[in-house]
Symmetry: C3
């Protein structure tokens, strides 16, 4: 018979962990990642220093449902030299300067011709944009619009030392924790974006540290947990195509992305919209923050698109601080280590523990003294002097648990109806259970 479990937040949450989360993100920030290549491998190496990550290599040319694994991309150097031979942009200074997945080039171009291969943002003229060309052969550079505007006419030299290796592979990492039940909760963070701190060094850091924390429970969790670090779209589709049996066990999940900036929090619901994960996240964010931004699913964003596609419908939501695409730094060089903050990372990390706590305790409960209210006074569970207008506040979570424990409502149901913090309802359930007044429905 299951029992009300102790709070995971109390067990696992270490206040101040935000700095460690930031430091880890900082360590992987400079690496030039893409949908394949050594940047991904190096990043997964950092994660392996924290958890026992299993790394997979899937050969280029392999099929993953409707997709074929593309040739592996690697890049060693890239620059543009002006007519005087000065390097005016240099991949080694900022890897956003190269169109991600760009082919090689080595040639001289008049500025007008070169411009066809240069991407800028006239609206944010001082920032380098992040641009990709995964599925069309192209080469290109990105720079600030101010810099582009300042370039004099003349002949420029463009150099990109990159290659697309048809005998390469796509790389992803995963970590699995078996719990008491075979049902799986999934956490996933994309690992394909280059030097973008919030998107998604933040998500990889929180996902790594959460996996490490849960691993300390050594199989004592109710659910099993699957952690994934994969390139966006093709990476998660590849993981799905290689885990068709396992995914039948996945009931809920969360994508972690952009979880380190000072805005938000934001939650994008799963396609179902009212899955347990949706209700748990919404409750926790509303308990913790004044104005969480809870938004409906729409089929654009991160890998929740894949997990929620018609063949899977895995009930995977997306947890963020600011909403991707709406913060000005999104997909620009402004998304750097100054943009993400230890305390924001820590809030996201704590939220994931709180959400897991809800899931782990999502039981329907039965009041064992259901005929009217039990006599709480004789058990020392009630204030001694009655009639006081303020006396009842402390007893409210207990009264709600008693009234709603008819075997039809779970702790989350009750916390929602009571409009009380989930933590107080959890505590009341624990106290009542310890006093023999409540049990988990068999």
């Amino acid at each position: 018979m299951p029992v009300i479990r102790e709070s995971l937040v109390q067990k696992l949450y270490q206040p101040g962990i935000g700095q460690e989360l930031w430091d880890f993100a900082n360590g992987i920030y400079p690496i030039c990642r893409s949908i394949s290549g050594n940047g991904v491998r190096e990043t997964l190496g950092h994660i392996q220093s924290k958890i026992d990550l299993q790394v997979h290599e899937v050969p280029s040319g392999s099929q993953a449902f409707d997709w074929t694994i593309a040739p592996e991309w690697n890049i060693r150097d890239a620059w543009i030299k002006d007519p005087q031979g000065n390097k005016i942009i240099d991949f080694k200074k900022h890897n956003l300067h190269v169109l991600n997945y760009s082919g090689p080039i080595n040639g001289k171009f008049q500025l007008a011709d070169l411009k066809k291969h240069i991407f800028t943002m006239p609206d944010q003229p001082d920032l380098i944009p992040y641009r990709t060309s995964y599925y069309t052969i192209n080469w290109g550079f990105c720079m600030s619009h101010d810099q582009l505007m300042s370039l004099p006419d003349g002949e420029y030299e463009a150099f990109i030392d990159s290659d697309h290796n048809p005998n390469g592979s796509l790389t992803y990492g995963e970590y699995f924790l078996q719990g008491e039940s075979d049902e799986i909760f999934l956490f996933s963070a994309h690992c394909c974006h280059p030097s973008l701190a919030n998107d998604n060094c933040s998500g990889m850091s929180v996902n790594t540290h959460l996996a490490r924390a849960l691993s300390s429970l050594q199989g004592k969790t109710r659910y099993s947990y699957q952690f994934i670090f994969a390139p966006g779209t093709i990476g998660s589709i590849t993981w799905l195509s290689r885990n068709e049996e396992k995914i039948k066990r996945i009931k809920n999940g969360l994508i972690l992305s952009c979880v380190g900036d000072p805005g938000g929090p934001t939650y994008k619901r799963s396609q179902a919209g009212d899955a347990i994960v949706d209700r748990a996240v919404e409750k926790i964010l509303r308990d913790e923050e004044a104005n969480p931004n809870i938004i409906d699913f729409w089929p654009y964003g991160y890998d929740e698109r894949q997990y929620n596609s018609p063949a899977f419908r895995l009930n995977v939501g997306l947890l963020l601080r600011s909403r991707f695409g709406l913060f000005p730094e999104y997909h620009t060089s402004g998304d750097n280590m100054d943009f993400i903050k230890p305390d924001a990372l820590e809030k996201s990390y704590k939220n994931t523990l709180q959400i897991i706590d809800v899931l782990e305790n999502e039981y329907k409960t039965v009041n064992l003294a259901p005929h009217g209210e039990p006599n709480l006074g004789k058990r020392g569970l009630y204030g001694a002097i009655g009639g006081d207008k303020k006396a009842y506040d402390a007893n409210l979570p207990v009264f709600w648990m008693l009234n709603q424990s008819d075997g039809e409502h779970s702790l989350l149901d009750i916390a929602q109806r009571a409009k009380l913090p989930y933590e107080r309802i959890h505590d009341a359930a624990k106290v009542l259970s310890e006093n023999g007044l409540l049990e988990v429905k068999g």
Copy 2:
């Protein structure tokens, strides 16, 4: 196997048709109609010049459910002469001057006695009201309140040359288009009001031209279409009483009334409130107009009352521009040909085609590459440069169709959830279907 159909709006809608709609209304405006009589016959004759209308005569005294067809009313002339013998009101100048269905009179009256038979509107003193007395034997005149107030005392002569013929009949017209399916969509416009342009020369004109347009498809429509032109209440009850088998095939319908004034649009829902027609009209009006007025069913108004009565529940809504009863010209001589406008008639006409388009394409769809997103890039269906904050807008309808095509959702469901114009969802469905990524659920 059904397929996504081409847009009816693209096929059938002729921009500029508003003038033709207005001209047709103008042609029938002067006729004095009532719930029976030659005015109705003459009006149906105009409609027969456009479509192959079938005209029915139902003898007075016939039973139609709880009702008996009243004697046929005809009127030839009517006037009031003042003490000096001047015609102060003349039926030939405006047929609203006679209480509709009035019995005959020929006599002299002191003004005070005559006033008991004169109807005016003190609140709108310069307009002639429209008044009827169908089910109580009476005689009477209508005039502007200003005119009534200006009348000196004295003896007036009142003359109405009308008769109620117990051997007459009630007249209505109908037009039926067989489609691929026996299920019927109904369009109805009342034809009993005399010189009131919006109410309902406008509805008769749109209904006539819509029937003519659909007839050009020669049975290639998914649904069958029933068009009705009948006197209000007794006419539609008569039609229902003589079509008890056919009405089992009617799933949805629309009453067209007051569809030519510059206000609105307005939609009054069917009794069910969430029938397909309700959802389709609401979606189209919200796509097309900034602030459509969508109102719940209530059991007063036009013949939607009859079609939605407990024995039938045919899911018939009411499409209007301004809401009947609320525009000042309603049921007055102000509802004339200056009040209705070609562009308003054209909007109403286009709306009906758009609504039919939704119904004709109301299929649930199945994504044929449902494991994550299909690779749209390799099919040329996706923008080549990724990462751009604005790139995704063009792809949104396609992503929504793919994500929601699990065999449980229709195009209308998806357009509603996506909050995108129906037309864009329809287009996306067509493109995906042509690329082998989507099919209609078998």
Copy 3:
């Protein structure tokens, strides 16, 4: 076959009864009640002067579910004398001065020690608080904070002549009216609070007079009615424990408490939230008052907590004027006979009759002329001159009844959908029924 019943309000409501309701409350106001003892007996004696109340004595020590009936409390006198021997507080002047259920004391105390047994309200310094200590052995006094602050140091004499008799009993009263059906509607008012006029002399008065009014119908009501006057919590739990068979017949009920102050009205829903009683009360209060305060159930308040507990779920709501706990006079000496008003008591009384009227007529109806609208004109049920913009208002309730009487909707359903006063829908149903156009669903 049931028929639409006549209005109970028309039959039973006597305008001006508010003064009688107030006078009865005034008669029981001075009595010192508690959860047991002679004060309760004396109060029930007053009620017996109005209705044939059955009074029960349940011995102390008896078990009632999780509870044991406490020893019976009686008090004869109590006071505090100051160092000069002046009685500074006197139970005989206001029974709130004694901590309710206080044990006896007779001794001399320095002020500092005495203060540990004195309860005041610093926020409302001129009022005596109402405080209880039912389930912890204690003794104490209540007084205004102003008075406490004015007391000089010195030795005070405290005297309480009370006892807790283990061979006593708990007393409650009940009154039952058998109706045509065995299904029971319950009305309950707590009878344990001492001199608090609104809480609950008001509720006992309304409950008593309502029982008397219904008794005049001599079994001609549709439902049976159970009236209860019991001490809060332990009293209702005791009643429940002794009526386990009867409570299976209870479908809905109302607690009457704080029904005499000039604020409100307020309704706290049953746990179910959408029980018939909830919908009936909400409709009536919205018909009668501009801004009724309709609040969701929460597990704190009066005996609705017991009736709605998991083992019973009796769908019992709470009717009040101002919400308990929020009006400043609540649980203070400010809740006196000046605070409650005849017209507020009368409104509450009338509301209960109106609510019963809804319940007694809560039938689904069938339109006997359902094919379109019936011809109301030939039955004299319709205005003779048509076309008038304002004519339809009078007919609306009739049209709604006809349209919605498909055997699926009740009078309350229809009144809610029509957004018309319940009384007008009831009247329309009666008229249609009398004209053979409507019947109650068999």
